[in-house]
Symmetry: C2
Subunit: 244 residues, 2 copies
């Protein structure tokens, strides 16, 4: 009668918390997108694992809720944190269709802070998180948020910067940011963080405009204060070092 929404962190292995591992260990059934369930197979060889393809989030969540309502302890796994563009909200929206069950959220390390760690320390000051996916959000709202965040000099973290059907979205986002930000603004790209073949690099906003990224990439656009220190991306928090 318990459904855990479990964030397994960006890599699925060593970025997982003790609490996430305990929730998976306590579960009779582990459900998730194929790639994430496959990551867990070796750690939980004796569990029933059930995977579904991408874009079947509603179906996957209803199945997990139904299994929990039938009396099983179920873990629905998400990459990163289930509460940041994950399945947590959908689960709470669908839960009223089912008999009452306990739903427990288990937070994980989200892509924004994992990408930041790989790049240096770009999120040390106020930041905004924006998804470029317009599957569920009108592009006009995405554009308005990018514009507002840029004008208020937030560091901006972009989730879902690209997909096969949206190959020019990052370029369109950069067009919006360049209305108010310098093309010399320091940016960072982090790919496959926590997995094999991980990669993080810095570039300018002008270069980002023509960069090629994929769906496994997180992009961080610096504020006016963000700079490179010995090859790392840093947004100083404002410590007056000399005076303290």
């Amino acid at each position: 009668m318990t459904l855990f929404l479990v964030g397994i962190g960006p890599g699925g292995g060593s970025d997982m918390t003790d609490r996430a591992r305990a929730a998976l260990a306590a579960s009779d059934l582990i459900v998730g997108y194929t790639v994430y369930v496959d990551l867990l197979r070796s750690d939980f060889p004796d569990k029933e694992l059930r995977s579904t393809p991408m874009r079947r989030e509603v179906e996957r969540t209803r199945m997990a809720l139904a299994e929990a309502a039938a009396g099983r302890t179920v873990a629905l796994v998400c990459s990163g944190d289930p509460g940041v563009y994950g399945m947590a909200g959908l689960c709470l929206e669908l839960a009223p269709e089912f008999p009452p069950i306990d739903i427990e959220m288990v937070a994980g390390v989200t892509a924004a802070t994992a990408a930041a760690a790989a790049l240096g320390a770009p999120l040390m000051h106020d930041f905004a998180v924006v998804s470029l996916s317009d599957l569920l959000t009108p592009w006009t709202l995405i554009e308005a948020r990018l514009d507002a965040a840029a004008r208020a000099d937030f560091v901006i973290c972009l989730y879902n910067p690209s997909s096969r059907s949206r190959s020019d979205y990052l370029q369109r986002a950069c067009d919006v940011l360049l209305r108010s930000k310098s093309s010399a603004t320091l940016c960072g790209i982090a790919r496959n963080i926590g997995r094999n073949g991980d990669d993080a690099r810095m570039l300018t906003l002008g270069e980002l405009h023509t960069a090629s990224v994929d769906m496994f990439t997180t992009v961080i656009v610096g504020s006016s204060a963000t700079r490179s220190i010995e090859g790392r991306m840093v947004t100083p928090r404002g410590y007056g070092l000399e005076g303290r």
Copy 2:
């Protein structure tokens, strides 16, 4: 010759990742603010632990850098994630004063997503993270960012909403948000998340305006779409449930 910047998550215990635990286990010396070092004492009884009071961040970071430069493996621990209002940026800023050492960032679950998990799923859509501490940031900039985030209908997560010397800052922040947001906007307060005596509750923005919070509290202010579903705070991601 290695300095790990280690995020121990919000509670310091079961929210820690395997990677964080491995970094602490590999270290000769663990350094941090007294409260966090005390949380680790029982888990790492054989380690040298060195704690310093709050507000001594520069001194603490220089000490950790000096010990690593002297050839030791050192962990500098932060609550939550070292890259979100933690010590990661300060460390990279101070590092050039010392002989070259390896600096490795270990991301943790940050307060925003831990508070979100305790409240439900309020961060399912674009959000902005703003610290109300004006120790290192002019209040005019904080106010401009709050205003911009509210007008662009971001969910807004407030770090450091109060302290002894800034008891009216949350009220002042609410004044700014109420310029463009309804007083009925759903908000959440999460306190001591991951520790004993944790507490999460929902209230309206009008109620938040007069609420009393402390420095162990994280505040989440909903967007216009945020609502309560069976006692949890949810910002729907926009899934058209009926159509899928």
